[in-house]
């Protein structure tokens, strides 16, 4: 429901990832982690729900780069 709410409000699809995992599912964990990384790479750095006013220098730089 949270995912649905956030996407409904306009957050990028896939920005929030959820998975059911048990500590015994090592392989599945690796697979999901890899998939997640790939998905997030595609989306690029987050711009929504990020503290803007008070971003760190590093973050500001990435934000600026993104704007370019």
């Amino acid at each position: 429901m949270l995912k649905s709410l956030l996407e409904y409000l306009g957050l990028e699809k896939g920005r929030l990832q959820l998975a059911w995992l048990s500590s015994a599912e090592a392989e599945r964990f690796v697979k999901i982690a890899k998939e997640t990384i790939e998905l997030v790479r595609k989306l690029g750095p987050a711009k929504k729900l990020v503290k803007k006013k008070f971003a760190t220098e590093r973050h500001r730089k990435t934000q600026k780069n993104n704007e370019k």
Binding site: K51, F54, A55, T56, E57
Partner: protein
């Protein structure tokens, strides 16, 4: 007529936009703006026009002197090399256009707290010094207005640098302080008829304010009422939200917080409200105002007793915002009259 004609200028209502464009070059302009079906005071954005056909704004303009969030200090650097610096306070001059007399009165009330012999709040003072206020007479007070109960009224001019009166399709603008006079220098002089019409409106203005409360002796009486059962009675329907205090033009409690993210941080001042359960919550976990009645008592006492004892004025200006916006219609006028009706017994009087 004591208003000298030279200080009386006028402008056609439809010319106001041009004047504002002109003023914006040198000033930040704060004015009422219409949103949906209500009016908010805010800094005019580019091409934004003020909306002056309003009764009063939803928010109180106190936020331009005492912002809801205000940086005290910003700092940057790693732990052992922490650099602190005062935030550069914008030095650009500001004009607040169209502030109602009740709200101007509230600033005069706040001045006593923030700028007094013992203590001067530089953050407040700088904003105060940088700002010219153009008051705006109330031709149509609301039924919930009771400004006349606090030595003010719909055409109360103290605290204004200039004062606007709407007559037909014109605004008559009166220069009051040097700064205010200078600003309207270039406008055309108002003629005798206009000044006369203005005088007429002002003469009977106080009678147009529909409600009033009698606050004489309330501060003294409250002193004896700290332990009175009335507080539980009047707070029973209170939900404990901050609408009354956050919209109130005289409420001025604040809380100081540190916000640090990685190597950057700031110390920041936020509004606080006595209606909240964490207001004055001690570090130990002890809460001296645990119940709603204690918090309601704090609000009323602070306005009508403590402030009066400390600064000689009641901290209420009769704008009626707390009445109209309270989700459960708690009415401060009713509270005052029920305090008035309380018959103090010997035990209450100690």
């Amino acid at each position: 007529m004591k208003d000298s004609l030279n200080n009386m200028k006028y402008i056609e209502k439809n010319k106001l936009v041009e004047l504002i464009k002109e003023l914006k070059k040198d000033y930040i302009l704060i004015a009422p703006v219409k949103l949906k079906n209500f009016v908010l005071f805010r800094e005019l954005k580019e091409n934004e026009e003020p909306y002056l056909d309003f009764l009063n704004s939803r928010n109180s303009p106190k936020e331009f002197f005492f912002p809801q969030t205000e940086n005290i200090v910003e700092f940057e650097g790693i732990i052992d090399k922490r650099v602190s610096k005062l935030e550069d306070i914008k030095n650009k001059k500001r004009i607040i256009l169209g502030m109602r007399p009740c709200d101007i009165k509230s600033i005069l009330i706040l001045d006593k707290l923030f700028i007094n012999e013992d203590y001067v709040d530089n953050y407040y003072k700088r904003l105060r010094d940088n700002t010219l206020i153009f008051g705006f007479g109330c031709n149509k007070p609301r039924t919930t207005c009771f400004c006349t109960s606090f030595e003010s009224g719909p055409f109360f001019k103290e605290g204004s640098d200039g004062f606007i009166t709407a007559i037909g399709d014109k605004f008559i603008i009166e220069g009051i302080t040097e700064g205010g006079k200078k600003l309207i220098e270039k406008l055309e002089n108002a003629d005798k008829d206009m000044v006369k019409a203005k005088g007429e409106i002002e003469k009977n203005a106080n009678d147009t304010v529909p409600s009033s409360v009698k606050v004489e002796k309330i501060p003294e009486k409250l002193r004896e009422m700290f332990e009175h059962p009335i507080w539980e009675e009047i707070s029973e329907r209170c939900l404990g939200c901050g609408v009354c205090t956050y919209l109130c033009p005289t409420c001025h409690c604040f809380d100081i917080q540190d916000e640090v993210i990685n190597e950057r941080g700031r110390r920041v001042k936020n509004w606080d409200s006595c209606m909240f359960p964490i207001f004055t919550l001690h570090g130990s976990g002890h809460q001296p105002r645990e119940f709603r009645y204690q918090r309601m008592r704090q609000r009323i006492m602070h306005k009508f007793n403590y402030y009066e004892e400390n600064f000689g004025v009641i901290a209420c200006c009769g704008c009626g915002r707390c009445i109209t916006q309270c989700p459960v219609n708690i009415d401060v006028r009713e509270i005052i009259s029920s305090i008035k009706n309380v018959k103090l017994t010997i035990s209450n009087e100690k």
